[in-house]
């Protein structure tokens, strides 16, 4: 009985994954199309890829996009961790709820609203500094800003589940705050932190409207480029690009997983009995 139930679960998961990956494979399939459209496959060809590689402009945009996503998500995660801790440690529930509502405002606000108000904000603040111009730094700030709330949202539930007796025990054993944070709280929160980081990363990659408003000369992201190509039709070169991004990410993810699993195996052996 146990076994058959398990296989139903697997079938369900397979269906969900097929659903998640179906459009991706559709895009990848047509990136090898000899023709120019996504509606009929006229033959196998790699010419969209060669087109892509000769387009330095697009490659720079791609690298910019990922640099921005990795960096903004990282900074947002740091800010978010301490924000979440702060909210959690607030004494009064009403204060917590108020802060949480403020926290979520950027999630609920439509992108155009955020983009337009950030633009005005940057321009206003910019007049205070000479030589100010929109560009990488303003986009980075904006991306950090709209990623912070999602990180907080991912970490808070973990904090609420955390067993305070662990921390009390830590203090009783004479640990200082730094040690408590490093050895008890952060490890416990790590699934939330990782989830938060990747959500922030995704937000950054996906964003179009906010980036468009707050960017300036010499810095664009892939989303802005793709959306602005829509009027003329998005070419299969972009599909080829997505194929490469997807394959690269897949290799990275699987590779990362096996490396980290090795490490974990080792460290678990060492640690067993010390903490648990």
């Amino acid at each position: 009985m146990q076994k058959s139930k398990f296989s139903w679960a697997n079938i369900y998961l397979v269906c969900v994954f097929i659903f998640l990956y179906l459009p991706i494979f559709y895009l990848i399939f047509y990136s090898f199309n000899a023709g120019e459209t996504m509606n009929s496959f006229t033959g196998f060809s790699l010419h969209h890829f060669s087109e892509l590689f000769s387009d330095t402009h697009l490659v720079i945009i791609l690298l910019n996009t990922f640099l921005l996503a990795f960096l903004s998500a990282l900074i947002a995660t740091f800010i978010g961790i301490f924000g979440a801790l702060f909210i959690y440690y607030l004494k009064r529930r009403s204060h917590r709820n108020t802060l949480l509502s403020l926290n979520n405002i950027l999630i609920v606000s439509p992108d155009v609203t955020i983009g337009a108000s950030f633009l005005i904000l940057f321009i206003t603040l910019g007049t205070l500094f000479s030589g100010f111009s929109l560009g990488f730094w303003t986009v980075l700030l904006a991306h950090i800003s709209f990623s912070v709330p999602i990180v907080v949202l991912m970490i808070l539930p973990k904090l609420q589940e955390m067993n305070d007796s662990m921390i009390t025990a830590g203090y009783d054993l004479g640990a200082n705050e730094r040690q408590i944070l490093k050895n008890i709280i952060l490890p416990y929160l790590s699934p939330g932190i990782i989830a938060g980081y990747f959500m922030a990363f995704t937000y950054s990659l996906d964003d179009f409207a906010v980036t468009f408003f707050v960017t300036g000369n010499g810095f664009t992201t892939l989303s802005v480029e793709i959306y602005s190509r829509a009027r003329r039709g998005v070419s299969l070169e972009i599909n080829a690009l997505s194929t490469l991004v997807f394959l690269f990410a897949l290799v990275l993810v699987v590779g990362y997983y096996y490396i980290s699993k090795d490490n974990q195996g080792r460290s678990k052996k060492k640690k067993r009995g010390v903490l648990r």
Partner: protein, 268 residues
């Protein structure tokens, strides 16, 4: 404890002041001005008196609700089953991976899949089912919207279910509870925090969807997102757009009150 934490939370507060409070004040401010820069309450008056905007609000809430419920129903078993698998972290990453491909491209892929001559219809054709108009229906709109939101629901759920102490479940079984009882009495209540943050991460942004309503829905459903887009981009009447923005923020606060922590207030 307090001193240490406060100091580290300084960047968070800087963020709150500069990137939340300042823009919100700006948006609220804009909502009280007309296009000639005169103070007015007309934006709000129009919003609450015109059937057009109320219908849009209703549409937005209704579709966001549908999207959230469907997403939750699909996501919960997914997350639950995933926690039983061996390589959890790997599966988590594989759930996230599709979100790294541009949204517009995925929407175009769905146009291809759902088209009259598209993949799904020719697949159904094998079973003798005649091509159907799938695009511009609620069905295709909901499918694509749910598709976009799925990872944002699965991740927090996985996050919450993952660290459920196995001992709880074992204990429940030892005490003679059936699998269903264990699930509803032990597993589900313990994952409620994850459900809440998932619902927040999906419902709130779904309120202001606009691109999919046009791209996949063919503008058959008009939501607040469409109106905001129009006011900010086409007519450039930022006052009216900001008014809807304020309403959305208020709606979010209502959602937070419903899904936020209730009387128990944590373990403190």
């Amino acid at each position: 404890m307090k001193k240490y934490n406060t100091l580290l939370a300084v960047p968070y507060f800087m963020w709150l002041i500069f990137f939340v409070l300042a823009p919100v004040l700006l948006v609220v401010g804009y909502s009280f001005f007309d296009q000639n820069g005169h103070f007015t309450l007309a934006n709000y008056a129009e919003y609450f008196s015109s059937g057009k905007y109320l219908l849009m609000t209703f549409n937005s809430v209704w579709y966001a609700l549908l999207i959230t419920v469907i997403t939750l129903v699909i996501s919960y078993p997914t997350a639950y089953f995933l926690t039983k698998l061996k390589h959890k972290d790997l599966w988590l990453l594989l759930i996230i991976l599709p979100t790294w491909i541009n949204l517009l491209l995925k929407a175009y892929a769905f146009i291809g899949i759902f088209g009259v001559h598209g993949g799904l219809n020719s697949f159904l054709g094998f079973f003798g089912i005649l091509p159907k108009q799938l695009l511009f229906t609620d069905f295709s709109f909901l499918v694509v919207a749910v598709y976009i939101q799925l990872p944002f629901m699965i991740i927090p759920l996985l996050n919450a279910l993952d660290e459920l102490p196995a001992s709880f479940i074992a204990a429940s079984k030892d005490l003679g509870a059936s699998a269903t009882q264990t699930f509803f009495k032990v597993v589900f209540p313990l994952s409620l925090n994850g459900v809440k943050s998932g619902v927040q991460a999906v419902f709130i942004p779904s309120l202001s969807l606009f691109m999919l309503t046009r791209l996949i829905g063919g503008n058959r459903v008009i939501t607040l997102g469409t109106a905001i887009e129009e006011h900010f981009m086409v007519t450039q009447n930022w006052g009216k757009g900001a008014t809807i923005g304020v309403v959305l923020i208020l709606a979010m606060i209502v959602v937070m009150i419903f899904t936020g922590e209730k009387k128990v207030g944590g373990k403190k």
